[in-house]
Symmetry: C2
Subunit: 194 residues, 2 copies
Amino acid sequence: MPKIVDHSERKSNIAEATWRVIIRQGIKGATVRNIAAEAGVSLGALRHYFSTQHELLEFAMNLVKERVTARIVDIMQSELPPREQIMKVLLELLPTDDSSMAEMEVWFAFTFHLKTGGQRATELNDAIYPLIVQIIDYLDQHALFKQGLDKDDEAERLYALIDGLALHAMLEPDRMNKQRVIRVLNIHLESILV
Amino acid sequence: MPKIVDHSERKSNIAEATWRVIIRQGIKGATVRNIAAEAGVSLGALRHYFSTQHELLEFAMNLVKERVTARIVDIMQSELPPREQIMKVLLELLPTDDSSMAEMEVWFAFTFHLKTGGQRATELNDAIYPLIVQIIDYLDQHALFKQGLDKDDEAERLYALIDGLALHAMLEPDRMNKQRVIRVLNIHLESILV
């Protein structure tokens, strides 16, 4: 009887191996050779699933999006008060530990691959801006959004703040550590909330 | 008599050619071959000055830093009122036309090269955070900084906002156009100024 191979599981395993390599060695270590070794598959097997490093990063990146989305859905379905719920959702968009730092590095690497490939990185960023717009709406519906502020402007401002904090947490981690990220985010929320 | 070659001028000419190529074709077009053609020098001559694409980008990047610094010094020495002066300085840090968009792309590409090379991009970012700290101090000295706010926190928040806006202006230019950048920046300044 031929061996039954679950291709989707194998691809996920390779993506998981990609994450472990990135967490340990950064994006620069995420070569197909290193990843194949980490996943315990041959280079040929890896290339069967992902013919280029770009494809592999894209798959790993989509895995990030799925995971972040799942975590956010969980938070939104929880019984937390709206203010705490929103803070937790926003923290999901920021690198605050090794795992989310690795996610951020893949996001950054992949966005850059698309950009240098001449494409707009809209399919990646697409997801975040509408989420921020929803968050502002949610705050407004719960009568938490400060009167006199413009929802559209404040969505844009919060979105820029989040991505700026994410960038600095990744590039300047000595100064911009987790405590500082939370502190700045809290100050900003205070300024737009009732 | 041997031909006298001004090496520093020739390097600047090559860097200028690099900019023109980036403005026209994006970072992806900034190959040594394309740049040599644009500068009107042989590949051998270009390699004499810059042995790798990394070196060339680094030189072009430093040229950005020098130019941005020179423009900021000019603005700070002008007779504009402090509020307008600061707005102009902050806009120098954002991509608002083809030329500053190209600068931003080189900054992004280069930061990424360093990051994937395992280095921290501190030498690049170094310049911006202290500048933002100075701006907040300057506003405070001119009694423009809102009482009750913390200078350290507000420097960090403004810095994150600036880089987030820059990132979005580069990656999502259809939505985040120049008018929108200025609008969000103005709203933020209003919120921290008297």
